[in-house]
Amino acid sequence: MMRLLRLLNGPHDLGQGRAFWSGMALLAAAFLAYPAIASSFAASNVAYYLLNIPMALGLSLLWGYGGVLSFGQVAFYGIAGYTYGIVAGNFQDFAWGTAAGAVAALLAAGLSAAAFGYFVFYARVAAWIVPILTLVLALLLSTFLGLTAGYQWRVGGIQLGGYNGMTGIPALQIGGVTFQDYAFFYLVAVVVAACYIALRVWVNAHRGQVLMAIREDVLRTELLGYDVRLEQLRAFVLASVLAGVSGLLYVQWGNYITPSAIGLQQAALPVIWVAVGGRDSLLAVAISTFLLNQLSYVLSSSGNQSALVIVGGLLVAVMMFAPEGIIVGLGRARWLRALAPWRSAVGPGRPGHGE
């Protein structure tokens, strides 16, 4: 137990010490108290900003800590969502139906990630190839799912629905509790907190150190006796299961999923949340995901047609002036400047060099 606490307070994320953790506890309490003062609608909005955090955390793990960028997280988000819809929809008359759906969703995300990861990592492709491969995977999946409009595309009694998507997805029910409205908000808050704590322990533990070693220098890590491919695969599967958690929560939120949740536009979003926050800090990523989703909604829903222009401008500004991420920049301002400069003074490099 003490060891876990020590790992939790480890150095590989922003913030340590008593003051920090008291602040975090206060924040958690605030979120848990929020439904008492907020309307059901406001709570469902905040729940939406929160439920994307696990996917972003997974990508931060894979990219920030592991050095491998994946554009395909949304593919596993979608696989989990669709699998839940199929399994829970077919078994919704049973008490355990939706719970089975949740388990099946995460399993599906994990297994498909394992298969695809084996395909990718055991070929020892260069680091910059992985984003392209994963992007093609997301495109393949969304194109395929868009086809499935016909009646023959059904599993059990549930139609995949093509571009119209799968609608009427049943809400998760465990015991007598149906996770809708406020209950759903609590579910999301607890799940997100659990994911963050678990990941934070993981990155400070041995496995996390190995992952960071791989990020720094692949050859050296291999010479030290670690199977790099296996470690990368492990991280990839973990990140994808987290993306699956987000997907599972999303279909609870909206009871609906379409292939557009997996397309080209959506695929870039997690990368942007992570890049803007600062990819090598879990906390920064969690904060930036929440804030960017909120910003996006506030801008769009106020009828502001230049919402996308503003978001685009924000991205450019962040990348130009706070390239390591806004939150990370703020969090590490004092001591990072002393270290080696991030920017390369030379021109564009060969593939595999630079980031």
Partner: protein, 293 residues
């Protein structure tokens, strides 16, 4: 028999030309400069918009295309000076930034010019072989592809600029120590890439509707073509990959429909990238010593 064969060849040619034209600007920017330019589709959109502007003010279409090339090229140079140059060596920073730029360009075009621009009528008529008829304009586009590829190769192999550019891409430090102004080379190369994207956009404009988000349809084919082509010889690689991918896509489309053709293309791209991570052009690099022996 002859009409069927002509039809198949025509479809193969148009599919390959579409892939190559989509990839044209990205060959320079991604293939040579290693900037993952997610705004590539929007550069093509800018070229199409420039061409539409020009054509509807009475400028003949061929001149409008040239105007689009220079307009987009100039825009590329300005963008490089202001933004892109901070991201050399940081490919993934470039990725996020260019995504932001693509949002600004597309949505900005929508806000400034409305949901669509007046279309450009397809020049040329049709030519018949048997029961099939083919669009003359696509035949011209196939020809233009060949000319553009030859021209680009010529620029990079036979001009002083080309030599300096290749040297800079290979080893910037030594190039600089030899007196090459690498900053200017980067600027001109990016401008060239942007201009070529604009040129493709203008060329493809008559075949498509000219709208703010029209660039989206070219992004995936462009990236796939360039990455499958590989970095050993970017131009030859892109030509090789567009030919090869079209060779897969065309028969599948014919037999099973356009949807399965697109799926086949994506699956084949996935396999090639996995099996030949350095792309098709790396095959050429391996063959050359074997042939020389």
């Amino acid at each position: 028999m002859l009409p069927e064969l002509t039809s198949v060849l025509y479809q193969f040619g148009t599919n390959a030309a579409f892939l190559l034209l989509s990839a044209l600007g990205l060959i320079v920017i991604l293939g040579m400069m290693n900037i993952i330019n997610l705004a590539h589709g929007e550069f093509m959109m800018l070229g199409a918009y420039a061409a539409s502007f020009a054509v509807h003010r009475g400028i003949p279409f061929p001149l409008a295309i040239i105007a689009a090339f220079f307009a987009t090229g100039l825009f590329g140079i300005v963008l490089e000076r202001l933004v892109i140059r901070r991201f050399y060596g940081r490919e993934l920073g470039a990725l996020v930034t260019t995504w932001g730029i693509s949002l600004i360009l597309a949505q900005g075009a929508l806000l400034l010019f409305g949901p669509y621009m007046p279309p450009i009528p397809i020049p040329g008529g049709a030519v018949s072989v048997g029961v099939y008829s083919f669009s003359v304009y696509w035949l011209i586009l196939i020809g233009i592809c060949v000319v553009l590829v030859a021209g680009l190769t010529l620029v990079y192999r036979a001009t002083p600029f080309g030599l300096q550019a290749r040297a800079t891409m290979q080893n910037p430090t030594i190039a600089r120590s030899l007196g090459i102004r690498t900053g200017r080379i980067y600027m001109l190369t990016f401008g060239l890439g942007a201009g070529l994207a604009g040129l493709s956009g203008a060329l493809l404009a008559p075949t498509t509707s000219i709208a703010p988000y029209m660039g989206q349809q070219f992004v995936a084919p462009a990236f796939i073509t360039v990455v499958v082509g590989g970095g050993a010889n970017v131009i030859a690689g892109a030509v090789g990959s567009s030919t090869f991918l079209s060779l897969i896509e065309t028969p599948v489309s014919l037999a099973l429909g356009t949807f399965y053709g697109t799926m086949a293309l994506l699956v084949m791209a996935l396999l090639i990238i996995r099996v030949l991570p350095a792309g098709i052009s790396s095959l050429g690099a391996r063959l050359r010593p074997a042939i020389a022996r």
